[in-house]
């Protein structure tokens, strides 16, 4: 009797009004000088099921309890991951343990490195985490290596992954993916966006005898903006290419600080127009610095010579397209607003002041190496 009841209980809900998704882990690996660097997000609930994390049994996992089991966790996880580089297995070593939130709870973030003595030839990966404990667990892989980026799902029925070899040309997919990375980088590169916007805020105005006036026509505005954007574009393309090809190297802390300084100066110039006449030159000069900032993104992906030019082209194109999109969205609105009296005090001055505040914080963070705001 009781057994039937149990089964009925089961059946009542069998048509799946599911809540959370089943168990997933998120594994990212990227090329690094000695092999790979990786980041593995593993749900605390799953780790607790496998290893027991709740030291004091009070139903809550604290940072202290997680930290205490750091070696246990990294040992457990890395034993269930195998990366093969070229001819031999890579040696995995845990580097750090952090925490992150995903849609279904808190995850341990395991940062690790893979030392691959077998070289940079074909690589592959074998994943077995939690398959013995949860038949529904999946590993969601994202990888970036040798000019190719992609994703894969590792399941109990599909535990190995090998990136597509000779059959598929990495060229086509990598161009597209680098294009995306370029657009993505400009979208999330607030510093590049703010620099551009600082330069463009006054583009809809003209400076006449120490006052601002609305530009006479849209054509004037567009022409002005075009000059600025072109100067910026040419400059950053040059340095991006030089840096990515390895001909130009500057310490990244310098580059990042200079970029922050450029934003600061551009915005300050809107409040106290010192070199308004030279803003195209200004855009060019600091565009050179921004190009180095973009290059650091590409450097994260070790590229074979063949794919490099294409990757560069795609990335740069992506950055341009992203920029164009921002400018195209911004200019018409700014032009219309600039006809109003409040544009100068409200948008130009207040907007520039806000940008200055952010730029100062960035400059402080980047030059001093501290973290105050999220990037």
């Amino acid at each position: 009797m009781i057994r039937i009841a149990l089964v009925l209980l089961i059946l009542l809900g069998s048509r799946g009004a599911w809540g959370h998704k089943p168990s997933d882990s998120y594994l990212r690996i990227e090329r690094a000088p000695s092999g790979f660097s990786g980041q593995w997000d593993i749900a605390l609930r799953d780790l607790d099921y496998a290893l027991g994390l709740d030291g004091d049994g009070d139903g809550a996992i604290t940072w202290g309890e997680l930290r205490a089991r750091r070696e246990l966790i990294s040992g457990y996880a890395l034993q269930r991951l195998k990366i093969v580089g070229g001819t031999s297995d890579c040696t995995l070593a845990a580097e750090d343990l952090l925490v992150d939130e995903h849609t279904d709870g808190a995850y341990a973030v395991l940062r690790f490195s893979a030392l691959c003595p077998g070289g940079f030839g074909d690589w592959s990966l074998h994943y077995t985490l939690f398959f013995d404990l949860d038949t529904q667990h999946h590993g969601l892989l994202r990888y970036a290596a040798d000019g190719v980026m992609g994703t894969a799902v590792l399941t109990p029925d599909n535990r190995s992954f090998k990136p597509a070899g000779e059959g598929e040309s990495p060229g086509a997919s990598s161009l597209g993916s680098f294009l995306r990375e370029g657009v993505w980088h400009i979208w999330i590169g607030y510093d590049h966006i703010l620099f551009l916007l600082s330069l463009l805020l006054p583009a809809v105005l003209v400076r006449e005898s120490s006052t601002w006036r609305p530009a006479p026509t849209l054509a004037v505005t567009v022409w002005d903006a075009a000059k600025i954007v072109t100067a910026f574009t040419v400059a950053h393309s040059v340095t991006l290419s030089l840096a990515a090809l390895g001909h130009l190297q500057l310490p990244s802390r310098w580059v990042e600080s200079l970029i922050a300084a450029s934003v600061l100066l551009a915005a300050a110039n809107n409040l106290v127009p010192v070199w308004h006449r030279y803003r195209v030159l200004f855009a060019f000069t600091f565009g050179l610095v921004h190009g180095l900032g973009f290059a650091s993104v590409l450097a994260g992906l070790l590229l074979s010579t063949g794919g490099l030019v294409q990757a560069l082209f795609g990335f740069n194109l992506g950055v341009e397209l992203g920029q164009l999109a921002i400018v195209a969205a911004f200019l018409p609105a700014a032009y219309m607003l600039s006809r109003k009296r409040l544009y100068v005090p409200l948008v130009l001055r207040a907007g520039s002041a806000g940008i200055i505040v952010i730029a100062v914080i960035w400059l402080a963070e980047r030059s001093l190496g501290i973290r105050v705001l999220e990037p």
Binding site: M1, I4, A5, L6, V7, L8, L9, I10, L11, L12, G13, S14, G16, A17, W18, G19, H20, K21, P22, S23, D24, Q39, L44, R45, Y49, L53, G57, G59, A60, I61, T62, W63, G64, L98, V99, D100, E101, T103, G105, A106, D132, L133, D134, T135, Q136, V153, T155, L271, V272, P345, R349, A350, G351, G354, I356, V357, I358, V372, L373, P375
Partner: protein, 402 residues
């Protein structure tokens, strides 16, 4: 919030006071960005809650870990996991249960009970063919296992294999107490042209005082379903409410009742019923449908959440909520093409009246007649399914889509 507070502002450059204020606002906005991995600063910071006793599963598991060879204990634990999975709609429990059973099933030393539990778990994730093979093994070893026949009957009915479902129900009726067999039979008869008869039989069976809570709740739910299909609103409503008093937190029951309320356009009642039920996707969907109808501001946010949930599901390669996803695309996003594609894929896996319904609704929303819908119409005609809502949809389709 788990994140530790971060703030910091330094001196602004010379600017007019309102500008400073706006600047500060902008800086603070820039400080709140999307999640990235972080290192907590306090050892006492709570990161995650894991239920301790969790209804006895924690204790059972501890015991099992100490006695891994104790099959009876293991089966009890698996049953407990299935129960908890059903109550919380959290798939991890099913995954854990299945992983525990896997080694025995492979070895071939599994008891019929283990096969039935395995079938139940597979059925839950819509692996119907896997479930049926597991049931075949169970029945071979234990032909008088009522549970096996019951599970078999339900799967056949979900797949629209009505003769097989009926056969299984008849076997079940010989082996199980009255209300169980009666409900199984009523359910199958109601979708094969004998809905009135089935309803009468079920009402008769429900008058009996015997039967435990879960059996009664199931019978009431089936009664509500049949009544809805026959257009008997009051019977449907009172059946659902009676079932809900027995199992107030059952996600499946809540979803079914919410559907009734949505059909009657009682949207406020839905928001009350499903208030705060945002964790379970099916319930969140129904809540959002009501919120949208009420033009509530919460709808937009919930739509984004649902988008992310379905996307996460697709990312991991699952295809389990196709019917719900189809409803989402049709009624919340206004994308009839995507909805139709999803509904057609869903129909390949399961063929309950609700699956037919979303398919017909999606087909009606197309600009031109959709040939893919014809097999479904044939199926409905052949089985002589009685459902007032489906009849309306079929009639409109016959006239030609709008």
């Amino acid at each position: 919030m788990i994140r530790d507070a971060r703030s910091g502002v330094s001196e602004p450059a010379a600017a007019t006071p309102p500008a400073i204020a706006l600047g500060l606002a902008a800086a603070l906005l820039a400080g709140g960005s999307p999640a990235e991995p972080f290192r907590p600063i306090d050892d006492r910071q709570v990161l995650e809650h894991v239920s301790t006793a969790s209804g006895g599963a924690g204790e059972l598991r501890r015991q099992w870990v100490e006695h891994p060879e104790d099959r009876e204990l293991a089966l009890r634990l698996v049953r407990r996991y299935i129960e908890m999975g059903r109550e919380t709609a959290d798939p991890r429990f099913f995954g854990w249960g299945e992983a525990m059973l896997a080694p025995w099933l492979e070895e071939g030393r599994a008891s019929p009970d283990a096969w039935v539990l395995s079938a139940t778990i597979r059925q839950n994730r819509h692996d119907f063919s896997g479930a049926l093979s597991a049931l075949a093994r169970a029945i071979e070893a234990a032909p008088r296992s009522a549970q096996a026949w019951l599970t078999k009957a339900v799967i056949h009915e979900v797949q629209g294999e009505y003769p097989a479902a009926l056969q299984s129900c008849l076997r079940l009726a010989q082996l199980a107490p009255g209300m169980v067999g009666a409900t199984c039979l009523a359910s199958t008869l109601s979708v094969t042209g004998q809905a009135e008869y089935a309803l009468a039989q079920l009402q008769q069976a429900l008058r009996s005082p015997d039967a435990d809570t879960n059996t009664r709740a199931w019978a009431l739910t089936v009664q509500a379903d049949i009544a809805q299909r026959l257009g008997r609103r009051e019977t449907a409503e009172s059946s659902f409410l009676a079932a809900l008093t027995l199992r107030p937190h059952d996600p499946y029951l809540l979803a079914a009742y919410a559907d009734l309320l949505l059909d009657q356009k009682r949207h406020t009642a839905v928001t009350v019923l499903l208030r705060d039920q945002t964790r379970i996707d099916g319930l969140l969907l129904r809540l959002t449908l009501a919120e949208q109808a009420l033009r509530s501001p919460a709808a937009a946010e919930h739509i984004e959440v649902l988008k992310a949930r379905f996307a996460a599901s697709r990312l991991r390669g699952d295809a389990l909520h196709l019917g719900d996803e189809s409803r989402f695309h049709l009624h919340l996003l206004g994308e009839p093409d995507a909805a139709l594609a999803l509904a057609l894929r869903n129909w390949e896996i399961q063929r309950e009246p609700r699956d037919a319904r979303i398919l017909l609704e999606a087909a009606l929303a197309q600009d031109r007649p959709e040939p893919a819908v014809q097999p479904v119409l044939d199926f409905l005609a052949r089985s002589r399914l009685q459902d007032v809502r489906l009849q309306k949809l079929t009639a409109r389709l016959a006239k030609g889509p709008a």
